[in-house]
């Protein structure tokens, strides 16, 4: 639901010399929503985020928060806060002082700012390590401190640039649950840049898929995944086959493709075990690749080898026609 407090990008452009990093994008980030900016490397995600944060000047267009154009304000006055990819914790300050840094800068006295910092450390469950230096923390712990530090300014919008990419897969999954929980509790807008579609799907209320400096598709996570508009989105979101059918490109979910006795003939080119499923890649006579995600029990009941001939079927209703 749109409200007066949304963050809005209006004809936003970013140029670095001749490179156009962000090309005239328009978008409304609903207040209190968790938005993931998704896209391949170099598509302009960070540039967009950094313009919102105020760390990069706006070449053209404007950024409107709460009805007023913030694009000329200094970072600290925008009502946004940023959490950096490598966390950017001040290495010479203790965890508590890191969190209290912005209050210190405002001239808040020590007891008050330490109290405020402690509260936030409590929130991210880091009170017990408040006196450590950042170098003495693990990646996940550092991330929480960075989060606490970003939140201490009571931002309206929290910006996160690939916050999970420095963590190992195990921790990544745990931390993403925490991010989500925190966003729910605080009720503020999170804008989270990532190039992992699983991360975006898991977290986002809304996914914004960028490519080549423009927004290819934006919408609720499920809409994007269920109905990719373009071939790019379909491929990038994963789990989809893009094949030509009757002169049109269509997207077909891999988990909807079944092996049958008749159907589209194909030759198995790879078999990848994925735990609950087996991904069976096969080549059609037309030279297109199709992946079928077969439940492992079904697969092992009738295993296929590379080189074997198979036939694929799917429900017609599952076919989704692509725009481009």
């Amino acid at each position: 639901m749109r409200s007066g407090q949304d963050l809005e990008l209006v004809h936003l452009v970013k140029r670095y010399g001749d490179t156009v990093a962000v090309n005239d994008i328009n978008h409304v980030f609903l207040n209190g929503s968790y938005v993931c900016l998704l896209g391949p490397s170099g598509c302009g995600k960070s540039s967009t985020l950094r313009m919102i944060a105020g760390h990069e000047s706006v070449s053209e267009g404007s950024i409107v928060l709460d009805g007023s154009d913030i694009s000329a304000l200094p970072p600290a006055q925008r009502g946004t806060a940023m959490m950096f990819q490598n966390y950017a914790l001040f290495p010479h300050l203790s965890v508590r002082d890191n969190v209290a840094f912005s209050l210190h800068m405002k001239g808040v006295d020590k007891p008050t700012r330490h109290k405020a910092a402690n509260e936030l450390l409590e929130l991210v469950d880091m009170s017990h390590l408040a006196d450590r230096l950042p170098a003495q923390l693990s990646g996940g712990q550092q991330q929480r401190v960075a989060l606490a530090r970003a939140l201490v300014t009571k931002p309206r919008v929290l910006l996160l640039d690939e916050p999970l990419s420095a963590l190992d897969p195990f921790l990544r999954i745990r931390m993403r649950a925490e991010l989500k929980r925190l966003q729910r509790e605080l009720g503020i807008t999170f804008i989270h840049v990532t190039h992992g579609q699983d991360e975006a799907l898991a977290l986002a209320d809304e996914i914004v898929v960028m490519n080549n400096a423009v927004i290819e598709q934006a919408g609720p996570a499920r809409d994007v995944w269920m109905a990719p508009r373009t071939e790019f989105v379909a491929k990038f979101m994963g789990g989809h086959n893009v094949i030509s059918l009757e002169g049109h490109k269509i997207a077909l979910r891999a988990d909807q493709v079944r092996i049958a006795d008749t159907g589209l003939p194909a030759t198995v080119t790879a078999v990848e075990y994925q735990g609950a499923h087996v991904a069976l890649t096969a080549m059609t006579p037309g030279g297109e690749e199709i992946v079928a995600l077969v439940p492992e029990a079904d697969f092992f009941a009738m295993p296929k080898q590379t080189g074997e001939a198979v036939s694929f079927v799917w429900d017609e209703g599952r076919v989704h026609r692509l725009l481009a």
């Binding site: 944060a53 105020g54 760390h55 200094p74 970072p75 600290a76 006055q77 806060a81 940023m82 950096f84 990819q85 490598n86 950017a88 914790l89 001040f90 290495p91 010479h92 840094f101 912005s102 210190h104 800068m105 405002k106 530090r149 970003a150 300014t153």
Partner: protein
């Protein structure tokens, strides 16, 4: 395995050890030994006497000279640090393109390639009673008498020191600054720090190792100097180095050696203290 590591380490370190052994340790030992010797007009003879030291510690002038040496070191340090830090800060954080940074940095290092002595004496035509500085000041009407203290004074000595050694401050500070993660600055700005607060609370603390290394260079260079003080003060001022070089010139080696021993101990103590604040090997 462990054994061979030590052995090959020793083999590879051997040349360095030999050079330092022969040209650093042996000379130091020699100086210590000779500091107990006696001297005639033209020669030195082995002895074991404390005359040189008792003279050294007994002379008020010597104490004053040590004090002056510290004074030069301290004042020079303050100026080189202030200037060096500012210059490095400008280069590291205000110059945007890396090519420009390198170019400006090289620009600063080029004068370093002209002989120190020549650079030093070229201040003389500039600062003299009828030098460029005074002519300019008079023609601008700032003063009507030549300013005497521009040359052959503590001022000119320190000016020359600052001129010669600021670069030794700029380089390590610049080096440390360049290794500060840029996102830390953005994080500070994001947290509402003003440019000055960022400088004070983030950049300065993180630049400390560079400052320490620069300090080590400047302090030791100034404390060991003997030629700048002589040239720039017209032989009117003295520091410990001059005391030693005068003694050497007059063939009073034992006395020079005794002064040297005291100077060496002083310098090593100062450096020892500074090294407590920085792990040189890590900071490079």
């Amino acid at each position: 395995m462990a054994m061979s590591r030590h052995v090959s380490g020793w083999l590879q370190a051997a040349p360095l050890t030999v050079v330092l052994g022969g040209f650093l340790i042996a000379p130091i030992i020699m100086i210590v030994v000779v500091s107990f010797w006696g001297a005639t007009e033209y020669s030195i003879y082995p002895a074991f006497q404390f005359d040189n030291y008792s003279y050294l510690f007994g002379s008020a002038v010597v104490w004053k000279v040590f004090l002056a040496t510290f004074k030069y070191a301290l004042i020079t340090w303050v100026f080189t640090l202030a200037i060096g830090f500012t210059v490095a800060y400008f280069l590291a954080f205000h110059v945007r393109s890396q090519a420009m940074q390198t170019a400006l940095f090289l620009l600063c290092t080029i004068p370093f390639w002209t002989s120190n002595i020549i650079r030093m004496i070229s201040w003389i035509p500039f600062l003299g009673r009828n030098g460029i500085a005074n002519s300019a000041l008079i023609s601008w009407g700032v003063v009507d008498q030549p300013v005497e203290w521009l040359l052959y004074s503590d001022f000119s000595v320190i000016l020359a020191f600052v001129h010669l050694y600021t670069l030794f401050m700029v380089v390590p500070i610049f080096n440390t600054m360049m290794r500060i993660d840029r996102s830390l600055i953005e994080a500070a700005v994001d947290n509402g720090a003003s440019a000055f607060q960022t400088l004070r609370h983030v950049i300065l603390p993180l630049t400390k190792p560079g400052i320490m290394i620069g300090t080590i260079f400047v302090v030791t260079l100034v404390m060991g100097d003997f030629i700048t003080v002589r040239f720039m003060s017209g032989s009117q001022k003295a520091n410990v180095g001059r005391l030693i070089s005068n003694d050497i010139a007059l063939l009073q080696y034992p006395s020079a050696a005794a002064t040297s021993v005291v100077l060496l101990i002083t310098v090593l103590m100062v450096i020892g203290i500074l090294l407590r604040f920085v792990n040189i090997r890590k900071e490079l």
